[in-house]
């Protein structure tokens, strides 16, 4: 007797193919989000907000209602949608360029207001879509198109640690950083994304999950080496973990 243990999520378009580079972490996260939307049965009650960067083409991949935002402003668009339709599941899908570089103000203020939305922020430590320039989260020493000899903090400053910063916002209910550098970490990431979704579905509050994801093309690494790079280098600077969970704090 054969049983189906995994199926491509319904929420992904039947004929839709991810248009990312080979080995890109975006596809893993987008698929996990789709799985969760299926699992919670909220496809017909979800509005996704796309952002500027590789994160932009949500309507090409998802059978979901999608609103677009200007660069960095997805949390504001999400605020307008959620305040208009409080019963809907509203999430932003952003990169580190969008959420943490140009849009850090919106990220921090939306968290502080405690908007009942969910932000999933793909941190691959560079501006992927424009070809790999340094972003707010680029590691010290990391070579990018605009830090050709490696990020020199004396010259261009230090990386921003987003999850830690967002967790400091009083309005945030759940803040975590996960990575997708191994099957085990992908499993863990899904569990944490599920918690983030629950924070909104149960009406508890704002949730933010930063995902350390691969960008093999701009890192100049193979997909497999990119996963190792997350584990060996990025996680040292941007450590994974749950930085805030008000449901646990209350339980204590």
């Amino acid at each position: 007797m054969e049983t189906l243990v995994y199926k491509k999520p319904e929420c992904l378009k039947k004929d839709g193919k991810f248009t990312f580079c080979p080995g890109c972490g975006h596809g893993v996260v987008l698929r996990m989000i789709a799985e969760l939307i299926d699992e919670f049965g909220i496809q017909g009650d979800t509005i996704a907000i796309s952002s500027v960067g590789c994160s932009i083409f949500l309507e090409k991949f998802y059978d979901l209602d999608v609103a677009g935002a200007s660069h960095g402003r997805s949390p504001s668009v999400a605020t307008g949608i959620k305040r208009s339709l409080p019963g809907k599941f509203v999430f932003t899908y952003q990169g580190d360029g969008d959420a943490l570089t140009i849009g850090l103000n919106e990220t921090i203020h939306t968290a502080s207001r405690g908007e009942k939305i969910t932000t999933i922020c793909i941190n691959n430590t560079n501006f992927g879509m424009t070809g790999g320039q340094a972003s707010a989260t680029t590691l010290v020493g990391q070579v990018t198109k605009t830090t050709p000899t490696g990020r020199n903090p004396e010259y261009v400053g230090y990386p921003i640690h987003a999850a830690e910063m967002v967790a400091k916002c009083d309005g945030a209910a759940f803040v975590a950083r996960v990575s997708i550098c191994s099957p085990a970490s992908i499993k863990k990431a899904k569990e944490i994304l599920k918690k983030a979704f629950e924070m909104q579905i149960k009406g508890i509050g704002y949730s933010f999950v930063e995902v350390l994801a691969t960008c093999p093309t701009n890192w100049g690494m193979s997909p497999v080496d990119s996963m190792k790079h997350i584990k060996d280098d990025i996680e040292k600077v941007h450590p994974t973990g749950i930085f805030k969970d008000i449901t646990q704090t209350e339980a204590r």
Binding site: I42, Q43, G44, D45, T46, I47, I49, S50, I56, F57, L58, E59, Y62, D63, L64, D65, V66, A67, G68, A69, S70, G72, R73, S76, V77, A78, T79, G80, I81, K82, R83, S84, L85, K88, F89, N105, E106, H109, R113
Partner: protein, 353 residues
């Protein structure tokens, strides 16, 4: 709440805010800036009382994006700001036009350029009418001259915004925002627009929808832009509004918008009393601009005199509309320099006296 059943004395900014409430504005998002802060203050008191949304945004970038969010769901939403704040919204306005998202933007002009001053001015005609956003796009721009008209045009701004799925700017200046006048609010005079065919609500029992402004397929963006401009042709056909005061036999037609136009009207009256044939042509919709009506009016005039509280901005559209039918001259003062009845009368007298 302002009593809206009878004539009341009310400040322009608060009148606009009350009109927005009457129009069914469900969400207000804004960031303070003089000379329009009373709008946000009013909304912060009234919206919670009505069970509606007031969010003090972290910037004008955020507030217009919140308007976009609400607009994508077919919800009536509004923001208000002034000059430098409206400058920050330009990128989003372009995106809004492209994605066909409704929303109302109240722009109460201050003096510029730069941070300028908080004096009344009309230096943001270009900003509203031509726009500082990217690409080929147009928004609808309405220019009230009195507090009563600000109320009427606020109603109309919501109506046009929902009807044509476009941002609509109500372009006022600091005089109008700060001045008190008697106003009759009446009820929102327009029918509610059905948004169910396009608004985002979650793709339940229907195909998913997307309201975005990136279209990378070959020819896609060109087709969308053409469609948006066809829509503007329709708006021009249906919605162009102006006031023509004693233009039929006028030797000199003054063109002016907003509060300057009411000063000009008084100057025209005075000139007529002295036997000088002056008239006033006042565009109420700056976009769509009443080109044809102005051109026809100018045909029988000896000259057109454009008067603005700036260095000559509507002048560009006036010249384009008049298109040789009569010579066009200009008088203006920028950056908070007030134009008085005597100034305008003097300009008329210089030419007709």
């Amino acid at each position: 709440m302002i009593k809206t059943s009878s004539k009341v004395l009310v400040k322009g900014n608060e009148a606009i805010a009350q009109a927005a409430l009457n129009a069914g504005c469900k969400c207000y998002f804004g960031y303070p800036i003089t000379p329009q802060s009373e709008i946000g203050e009013f909304m912060s008191r009234k919206m919670p009382e009505l069970g509606r949304t007031f969010v003090p945004a972290e910037s004008e970038l955020a507030s217009i994006s919140m308007v976009i969010g609400a607009g994508t769901t077919g919800t009536k939403a509004m923001t208000s700001s002034s000059s430098c704040g409206i400058a920050l919204m330009q990128e989003a306005l372009s995106a809004m036009v492209c994605a066909e998202v409704p929303g109302v933007i109240i722009s109460v002009m201050r003096g510029g350029p730069g941070l300028g001053n908080i004096a009344p001015a009309q230096g943001d005609y270009f900003q509203a009418v031509k726009g500082g956003g990217n690409g080929d796009y147009k928004v609808v721009v309405l220019a009230p001259a009195t507090v009563q008209e600000a109320v009427n045009l606020t109603y109309r701004a919501f109506h046009l915004s929902m009807k044509y799925r476009t941002p609509v700017i109500l372009l006022a200046d600091g005089i109008l925002g700060q001045m008190m006048e008697p106003v009759e609010f009446g009820e929102y005079p327009y029918e509610e627009i059905d948004t169910s065919a396009w608004a985002l609500s979650g793709a339940k029992n229907r195909k998913p929808r997307f309201l975005v402004s990136l279209h990378m397929q070959e020819g896609e963006m060109e087709a969308i832009t053409n469609r948006i401009f066809e829509k503007h042709d329709l708006i021009a056909k249906n919605e162009t509004t102006y006031e023509a005061y004693q233009t039929e036999d006028a030797d000199l037609i003054i063109t002016a918008f907003g509060t300057v136009a009411r000063v000009a009207k008084a100057a025209v009256k005075k000139a007529r009393e002295k036997g000088m044939k002056a008239g006033l042509f006042r565009p109420v919709t700056l976009v769509p601009f009443p080109d044809e009506a102005l051109h026809n009016a100018a045909k029988s005039a000896k000259m057109v005199l454009d008067i603005e509280m700036n260095k000559g901005q509507m002048l560009v559209d006036v010249r384009s509309a008049v298109f040789g039918a009569a010579p066009v001259e200009f008088y203006g003062r920028p950056a908070g320099g007030l134009i008085t009845l005597e100034d305008i009368y003097g300009q008329i007298e210089k030419r007709l006296g």
